[in-house]
Symmetry: C2
Subunit: 414 residues, 2 copies
C-alpha cells in the first residue's frame, strides 16, 4: 500500500467524459489498496480564456485580481471530480489551495509555495478519504488579509510534487495527454522516442527550455525532496517516463533529448557607455520589475559604447521594454530593440559531463543546415543556441539525427 | 454624498462589453461624489451551466462540493470588473464572500447570512476605494474548517441588501435586464405597466410567487432593516421601481400586481388513516429533508381515510417523493401522486386589507374563463390559486384586466 499523488492536467479534465475517466482511474488506484491524493488543473483552455478576458479589460491587470480570476478554473474541476467520486462510492473531498493548507509568498500570478500545512490532508487520508486538491493555487497572508495566489503556468505540477514531498508520498504521478517524455517533440521529429527513465537534472534543463511536459519548479522540488515522478498519459494504461535521481547507467547516454522554446524574445540595448556597473543597473532594474532574464550577451562596440542582448519570456516584453525605457536617460541608452522571432534549441544530457566535443558537434550540425547562431549558453549538462524562429524545426530534426536519439540506448531501462 | 450599494445581475455582466458598461456606471456614480459598493452575480447562464455539470456527474451531488463549484462564477465577474475599474482609474478591489466578511449558516446551496464583518469593506471605503463583492456566496465555519457556501438562487440580491443594511447604505440599487417591476409579466400581458413605487410587503408576496425581479430573501432583509431598494435596468438611465415601506397612499390601489409561478409541483398523498398527528408526521419529515412546502390542502375521504395535497418547488420533487415513500409503511399511505403541470396565479395588493370582495372578484374572473381552481391560499395582501399550467397565461391576462392594472393609479407616484 503506497501513498500516491496523482495530478491530472487540463486535457485530462477537459470535459465530463474525461472527468469520469479520471474518476475511474482514481477508483481503481484506491481499489488496489493505495491511498491517493488528487491534484487537478483547470479544464484545458480555461486559464487561457480567463487570462484573455482580464487582458481585454486592461493592458496591465492587477496581479491580485488576476489571481482571483484565474483560481476559479481549478475550483470547478475539483468540485466536479469530488462529485463524481462521491457518486462512485469513493469518499472524496474537494479542497481549494487554502483548504489544502498551501501557503505562498506574495508574488501574485507567479507565487512560490512557502509551506504546506498538511493537517487537513492527513486527517482526510486517515479517515480513508481521497482529497481532491485544486492545483496552481495557494493563499497568501499579508497585513491581516488573506488572498488567493496562483503559482504561474504549470503550477499544478508544482502543487502535486509539493504535496507529495510534504506527505512523503511514494510517487507523484503526472497525468497528461502525452504518454511520457520524448527525446524531442514528436510533432517535429517523426522518430522521436519515449524516454523510460531520465534524471531530475536532465528534465530540469528540458523543462527550463520549454519542453512542456513538466513545469520546471515542480522538477526542482522533486529533486530537492527526491520525489520520484512518473509522467504518463491519462488516455492509456501504458507506462510513461520516470523522472528520478541520476545514476551511472544514465551517463552512458551523451545526449538524452533535444528541447526547443519559441516563447522568448530577444531584447538588445544599444549604445550604453561602457563603464562598470551598467549590467548590474540594467538587470537589477529588470529583476525588481519581475522580468525573468535568461541568456545575456554583452559586447563592446566602437567608442567605448557597449551593447547588451538578453532573452526574456515573450509575456514579459512589455514590462521589460517599460523598465529599460525608464532607464534610458539615466543610463544614456541609445536604442532598445526587441526581436520576438527567435527560438532556443538545446541539447541536454547527463553524459555531456564526461564527453568532449559535444558542443562542437552541435555547432557543426547547425552550420551544415545553414543556421546562424545568435546566442549561446551552456550548463554542465546542456548547450542552448538562439536561432531564427523559422529555422527551429530544421535544427531540432538535424540534432536529433546527429546525436542518434532515434535508437534506444542499451543501458537505459527499468 | 450617499453610500450606494449597486448590484448587477447576470445579464448585466454577461460579457466584456456589459462589464465595461457596468464599469462606466460605477465610475459615473463615483464621479458624482458617492461612495459605492458593488455586488455582482456570475455571467448569465454560468450558474446553470455549472449546476448542469454537477448534476450530470451525480444524481445527488454533495451540497458542499456544489457550493465550491457554483461559487466560481462570481469570482470571475468581480475580478474582471475590478480590473476594468482599475484600468479606468478607479481604485477598486475584488472581494470574495469570505473577504467581504459574509458568514453564513451550514445549509450548503441555500445558506442564510448569519453576520457580516464589515471591517475590510469600511476600510476600503474609507480609503476611497470601491469594493467589488462576489454575490451569492459566503463562508461557513464548522469544526475548525472554513468552507465556501452559497445562498441559493437570487442570492446576489440578498448579498446586496445585507451589505446595504450592514453598512447603513442610503439605497440598494438592483440592476437587471428589465427596467422595473411590472403589474404583470409583460411577456404575457401586453398592457402591463411599470410600478413606480411598491411596498416591501407587496413585493415580498410577488417575489414569493415567482415574480423574478427580486429574490424574496433580499426583500425580507430590506424590510427588516428598512433598506430602500431601487430596481432598475443596467441597459438604460431610466428610473426604475422603488421598493419602500408601505404607506397610506399605496393602499388606495386594491391590487398592485399579478404574479404567477410555473416552477412548482403538486404532490398528493392518498389514503392515510385519518388520525391526529398525520400532518405533523408528514410535514415534519419533509421539513427535515429540506423540502419547502407551500400550499397544503387536507381532505377527508371515505372510511376515515384522508388525502393531503401540497405544493413544493419542482426541484424538490425527487427529495419529496423519496421522503414520502420512506413513510409509506409507517403511515399506511395508499398512493403518492405528483402533478408537475400546475401553475400558481396570484393577486397582490396592500389595499386588499381594507377592501372586500377581492377574492370573489378573482374567482369569478377565473370562472368566466372556464378555469378550474385546484387549491387556494390567501394572506392579508394576497390571494393565490393553483390552476392547470396551460391555463396560466389566460388567467393572468384576465385578472390584469379585471383589476384595472393597465391604468396608472392617480395616487401612486414619486
Amino acid at each position: 500500500m503506497a501513498l500516491i499523488v496523482q495530478k491530472y492536467g487540463g486535457t485530462s479534465v477537459a470535459d465530463l467524459e474525461r472527468i469520469r475517466a479520471v474518476c475511474d482511474r482514481v477508483a481503481a488506484t484506491v481499489a488496489q489498496g493505495h491511498r491517493v491524493v488528487v491534484v487537478l488543473s483547470a479544464m484545458s483552455g480555461e486559464t487561457d480564456r480567463l487570462v484573455a478576458l482580464g487582458q481585454k479589460l486592461s493592458a496591465r491587470p492587477s496581479p491580485r485580481e488576476m489571481d482571483l480570476l484565474l483560481s476559479s478554473g481549478e475550483r470547478i474541476t475539483v468540485a466536479l471530480l469530488a462529485i463524481a467520486l462521491d457518486a462512485a462510492g469513493i469518499r472524496a473531498r474537494a479542497l481549494t489551495g487554502r483548504q489544502a493548507g498551501i501557503y505562498t509568498d506574495t508574488a501574485h500570478t507567479k507565487a512560490r509555495i512557502e509551506r504546506i500545512e498538511t493537517a487537513t490532508l492527513t486527517r482526510l487520508l486517515d479517515e480513508g478519504g481521497v482529497p481532491v486538491v485544486a492545483g496552481f493555487q495557494g493563499i497568501v497572508e499579508e497585513g491581516g488579509d488573506s488572498r488567493v495566489s496562483t503559482l504561474g503556468r504549470g503550477g499544478s505540477d508544482t502543487t502535486a510534487v509539493a504535496l507529495a514531498a510534504a506527505l512523503n508520498a511514494d510517487v507523484c504521478e503526472i497525468y497528461t495527454d502525452v504518454d511520457g517524455i520524448y527525446t524531442a517533440d514528436p510533432r517535429i521529429v517523426s522518430d522521436a522516442r519515449k524516454i523510460q527513465r531520465i534524471s531530475f537534472d536532465e528534465i530540469l534543463e528540458l523543462a527550463n527550455l520549454g519542453a512542456k511536459v513538466l513545469h520546471v519548479r515542480s522538477v526542482e522540488l522533486a529533486k530537492k525532496f527526491n520525489v520520484p515522478v512518473h509522467v504518463r498519459s491519462s488516455f492509456s494504461e501504458a507506462e510513461g517516463s520516470w523522472v528520478v535521481q541520476g545514476d551511472a547507467a544514465m551517463e552512458q547516454v551523451v545526449v538524452s533529448g533535444i528541447a526547443y522554446s519559441q516563447k522568448e524574445a530577444r531584447v538588445t540595448v544599444r549604445g550604453i557607455p561602457d563603464r562598470p556597473g551598467i549590467a548590474a543597473q540594467l538587470f537589477g532594474a529588470l529583476a525588481t520589475a519581475g522580468v525573468a532574464v535568461d541568456m545575456i550577451v554583452q559586447s563592446v562596440g566602437a567608442a567605448g559604447h557597449a551593447s547588451i542582448s538578453f532573452t526574456i519570456p515573450e509575456t514579459d516584453v512589455q514590462q521589460a521594454n517599460d523598465t529599460v525605457a525608464g532607464l534610458k536617460e539615466e543610463m544614456a541608452i541609445a536604442a532598445i530593440e526587441v526581436d520576438p522571432a527567435i527560438a532556443k534549441v538545446s541539447i541536454v544530457g547527463l553524459g555531456m559531463q564526461s564527453h568532449t566535443g559535444v558542443a562542437a558537434k552541435m555547432f557543426e550540425t547547425l552550420r551544415a543546415e545553414g543556421i546562424n547562431i545568435l546566442m549561446i549558453s551552456t550548463s554542465e549538462i546542456r548547450i542552448s543556441c538562439i536561432i531564427a524562429r523559422d529555422q527551429m524545426a530544421t535544427a531540432v530534426r538535424a540534432l536529433h539525427t546527429a546525436f542518434g536519439l532515434a535508437v534506444a540506448p542499451a543501458l537505459v531501462g527499468r
